[in-house]
């Protein structure tokens, strides 16, 4: 009986003393944390993808609360995954007006599919673009083009990018949150974040080849040759040509599609436009998918279907 009593008293005593110590220590070393941080973190999508530039959603929440307090705005802070909805809610929590941003999407600026840029050699090394990039130009011979080994697919946290077996190129679907992980992962800087556009209509140059036209076209039938026709036809100064490569500024582009019509190599792409009225010989060239589902692969498949997809490999050297 006595032993039990001693044990209870001793343990209880230790407990009380420790509790008192802990109480004073906790109040002395208390770290004040803005409850807003938790609130903001609740709103965020918890993808922890790093697309905002911060290591995880918590860090982003801390940064927003800090900036809201100090500068009364959230300029430069944006959660690409949550998009405008989430940012509006974050703004409400922090009593700030948030300007809506145009939604973005990752765009593959290469169309060097098996058909357009047939393989001249066969690659047998490890399936890593960054390794292959250091080793050689690629099976098709274009030193700027897609290597097709899927570093972007590995980098994507949202299941939004896949390799197409038919073309050997990656395809972005509408799960894309424009976090930019694939842009970072691509050793050839092919992927770009561009404006999704009204009704997801977009026009862009699907090529990053900076070589002279004659050299570029040798390796790939849909390469941009830098002829300048699109630059001339554009009434909005949206197109610039630097080192034999055309680039469309998505802020200035009004989606008039004039450049698409004049491009002699079909390197300018229109996505999610209604098919054009059949106009003599031009029409079958650029058939792009119906309005939905929104999928880049449709565009590519259409371009490729001109040619039989020759299953290279057997006769390659």
């Amino acid at each position: 009986m006595n032993i039990i009593l001693i044990a209870i008293l001793a343990l209880g005593g230790i407990g009380v003393v420790s509790a008192i110590i802990l109480y004073f220590v906790a109040s002395k070393f208390k770290v004040y944390e803005d409850p807003k941080i938790d609130e903001v973190e609740e709103i965020l999508p918890s993808a922890n993808c790093g697309g905002c530039g911060f290591p995880g959603c918590r860090a982003f929440a801390e940064a927003t609360v800090k900036k809201a307090k100090e500068e009364k705005n959230l300029d430069g802070l944006f959660c690409p995954v949550g998009g405008n909805d989430v940012m509006q809610k974050v703004g409400e929590t922090l009593d700030l007006e948030i300007e809506a941003k145009d939604p973005m999407i990752a765009v593959i600026r290469c169309n060097g599919s098996h058909a357009n840029s047939p393989g001249k050699v066969q690659y047998e090394g490890v399936s890593s673009c960054s390794f292959a990039h250091a080793l050689y130009t690629g099976e098709g011979g274009c030193q700027f083009g897609c290597l097709g080994l899927g570093d972007c697919v590995d980098a994507c946290e949202f299941d939004a990018i896949h390799m197409s077996d038919e073309t050997g190129l990656p395809v972005v679907n509408n799960k894309c949150t424009a976090c930019g992980a694939c842009v970072e992962a691509c050793p050839r800087d092919i992927i770009e974040l561009r404006k999704k556009g009204p009704k997801e209509k977009r026009i862009f140059v699907s090529c990053v080849n900076k070589e002279k036209g004659a050299v570029a076209i040798k390796n790939c039938s849909v390469a941009c040759i830098g002829c300048g026709k699109c630059e001339k036809v554009c009434n909005f100064d949206a197109i610039t040509i630097t080192s034999f490569l055309s680039y469309i500024d998505f802020e200035k582009c009004v989606l008039c599609r004039k450049c698409v019509e004049v491009c002699p190599t079909n390197s300018i792409w229109e996505v999610n436009f209604k098919p054009r009225k059949p106009k003599a010989e031009k029409a079958p060239k650029k058939e792009v998918a119906e309005a939905k589902p929104i999928d880049l692969s449709k565009g590519k498949a259409a371009v490729n279907s001109k040619d039989d997809n020759n299953d290279s490999g057997a006769d390659r050297k």
Binding site: V121, G125, V126, S130, Y136, T137, K317
Partner: protein, 446 residues
Amino acid sequence: MGLLKTFKLGGVHPSENKLSAQVPIEALPIPKKAFVSLGQNLGAPSKPIVKRGDEVKVGQLIAMAGGFIGANIHSPVSGKVFKIDVVLDSSGFRRPAIIINVDGDEWMENIDRTNDIVREIKASPEEIINKVKDAGIVGMGGATFPTQVKLTPPPGKTADTLIINGVECEPYLTADHRVMLERGEELLIGTEILMKALKVTKGFIGIENNKPDAIAHLSMLAKDFKGIEIVPLKVKYPQGGEKQLIKAVVNREVPSGKLPIEVGCVVQNVGTTLAVYEAVQKNKPLFERVVTVTGKGVSKPSNFLVRTGTPISELIEAAGGVPDNTGKVIGGGPMMGKSLLSIDAPVVKGTSGILLMRMDESHRKPEQSCIRCSKCTYVCPMGLEPYLLSRVSKLGNYEMAEKERIMDCIECGSCQYTCPAAIPLLDYLRLGKNKTGQLIRSRNKK
């Protein structure tokens, strides 16, 4: 002879296949058009000093070194500069090159074109290094590191031993073997010149035991040369690696991450040594080299004396053309060489061989799972764990890769050669080395 020397750690013994070992060096006809690449050395690319339409002679300086780690380039042919443009290199990238339309074969007047062997070394050590620098000599084993940089040890370090690398441990290649047999005396004088430049008294020539004729020939000639010793070595790949050769010949170990000069050694290739002899004694800059063209399907495996800038296709043509069942053309040896994307690429200073592989030899086996046999660890000459390193590279854990000393990997490929599961270990290691190197560089910048 007793037990032959070799390095202790790891190593493999691939079948030697020295098909062209008994074929004398043959001078290849001068090409009609020479494509002189401006990036023929490790480090900065060279800057052209000629322009379109200029007349050039053989041996004339046409491009200056682009930096401290850089090398001059001399015209390998005489004729008119057609243009300075980009040409396809062996990996398919377009790189700047000087294209020369060949007209005759007129040499610079100051080059001694006679076959007389000049024995007496008149130049002082400083003059030798300057001449080597002017002649644009780079390491001709394949690494193409500028030779004059190797001959000027960093302050505070001194060399006491020169080792000439006559190992040629890569299967198939015989260019160095033929040079040792046919240009033995010049090679030994070259060794003496290098010893004088480095102010060392001891010079070794390491030769693997599969070249007994070269060992016998050079041993006989070396009797007249003070301080030069021929060291026969046991046949083991990668004995031609600098660190392995030093361990084999003088039993010193280069510390991790350090250069051979740390243990007082300088290693030079046989081809480089011959080029040094020609530059110092004959005033002849580096514009031609011996290239082996070989392969089991090749009808006439040969050793050619080739001007740099000659398209590789011409070499293959001279060796009997591309056989029908060729699956792969490799620049260099089968272990470390890289397969060529285009055979129109020109010969550069670092081209030691062209290997044509048959279709049945040229494909990789399908990759299987690791069976934990630890063979890769056993054969690694640097004492690394290739399996572990390949895994951490695959998973992107480059901090761990650095801790596990991935940067010590010499990319010899012994691990991949020996792997029974055909895992592309070296590919992953190269990837990891590349990324870890970037990590270290970005950290050093900060």
